[in-house]
Symmetry: C2
Subunit: 252 residues, 2 copies
């Protein structure tokens, strides 16, 4: 049997430690192509570059590994890889390992998960891996065997149409894996206001995540907060099916 073709990207940029770890791990499972942004693209969601063109170039190669660096967003990287770089459809797309959690509503902001949703949209098995530690010094070592296990099981079992995985690891010891749902919650106090030397105000995005269901044990936030890896099956169809009939009863 041919080895699976695995496409890797991230949103922390091609030289982030997390993608180095993920690449090393995926090379145990298949032939690997990396197409990653040329710098940090955190919180780029599914953003696309439309007002200017994008470019990519080959980076230094290693045995069994093709690496490309792209000027676009993570979603651009996946689109460009599928349209212009790989010669056949990858069996798996993985993104990460992200420096920082993408649990709860962060799935919508995350460039990592943007790339994963894009892979899923193209009918390809896709998984985002993140760790709840923004530091570039984050220790991925305990997470590694779980990354391999989840990717192996995904390759073996596949996922339903339009479904991908959002995987988030806690820091430190790992108590196990929990298949979870996206936690309800929101960010608050989101800006730090500063004043520049000329008296103008500027705002840095910051904030605190407010968990709206801290007691619920089936959420991704609960899992990561309690030392578990959360695995959230995530879909690209955003239709609120249970609301269709409600809105059909409006006077429209």
């Amino acid at each position: 049997m041919n080895k699976p073709l695995i496409l890797i990207t991230n949103d922390d940029g091609h030289d982030a430690p997390g993608i180095e770890v993920l690449t090393r791990l995926m090379m145990q499972l298949g032939d690997v192509v990396v197409v990653a942004p040329d710098g940090a693209r955190s919180a780029q969601s599914n953003a696309l570059t439309v007002t200017h063109p994008i470019r990519f170039k080959k980076a230094e190669q290693r045995e069994g590994l093709l690496r490309y660096i792209c000027t676009g967003t993570p979603t651009d990287c996946v689109k460009l890889a599928l349209n212009e770089i790989v010669d056949h459809k990858p069996d798996l797309i993985v993104a990460g390992i992200n420096h920082g959690s993408n649990s709860a509503i962060n799935v919508l902001y995350s460039g990592t998960m943007g790339a994963v949703l894009e892979g899923c949209e193209n009918g390809i098995l896709s998984i985002g891996f993140s760790i709840n530690n923004h530091s570039l010094e984050a220790d991925f070592s305990i997470f590694e065997k779980f990354v391999l296990q989840i990717a192996t099981e995904a390759l073996k079992n596949g996922l339903p149409h339009g479904t991908c995985l959002n995987v988030n690891a806690p820091v430190g010891e790992i108590a196990g894996i929990r298949v979870a749902r996206q936690c309800d919650g929101r960010w608050t106090k989101e800006y730090a206001k500063r004043t520049d030397p000329r008296g103008g105000s500027y705002f840095w995005l910051t904030g605190y995540f407010e968990n709206h269901e801290p007691e619920a044990e089936d959420t991704d936030e609960w899992a990561v907060d309690h030392g578990y890896i959360s695995v959230v099956p995530t879909k690209i169809d955003l239709t609120a099916y249970q609301a269709l009939d409600i809105v059909r009863n409006w006077n429209l």
Copy 2:
């Protein structure tokens, strides 16, 4: 009763014709605050500005209307408005009218819908309005009464928790309104490759949308293709609930 407070943003920039129309219409329904990007932010999805600070400034005011221009993305505009600009929670957030359709998978790429999802995440009734015409000369006149009708019904009825609306209009005559689901499909042949005068390759995002279920009459694509306005109840919880048990049966 107090007039509802309505926050307006878009992704085509504060001076796009679509937001002018939407502002004029919403002023018939309530007190209006506009917080819009200082230029085009198409396809910015839920992207956030995190690597540099953002700013906003007051634009020229009109009676019953406060206008602000922001250096960030549409999602930044909503966050900044809610955290730093409005003095109480808006009753309604509307985005658009977008120059270009945001039906099907475009909901994930759209900066307009990014702003709407952000409003929804903050527990506020939120609606995105788009028209299937990318031109800045797009004629919104036939769409106007439907925009008012949908916003009025939304204010009257509200929406379930975590649910917002993605509204897309066809060009020309409108046959009516259809409450629809997000169509399955994907973009193909997504890049135009060019060569610069120095011999380097660069890529423009372009492409063709491939509808994977053209016969299905309950999708947003079908509606817009057949002269109807599509109204898709859209959710911010991306959990694929029907896949939870499937993944729980993996060897994890």
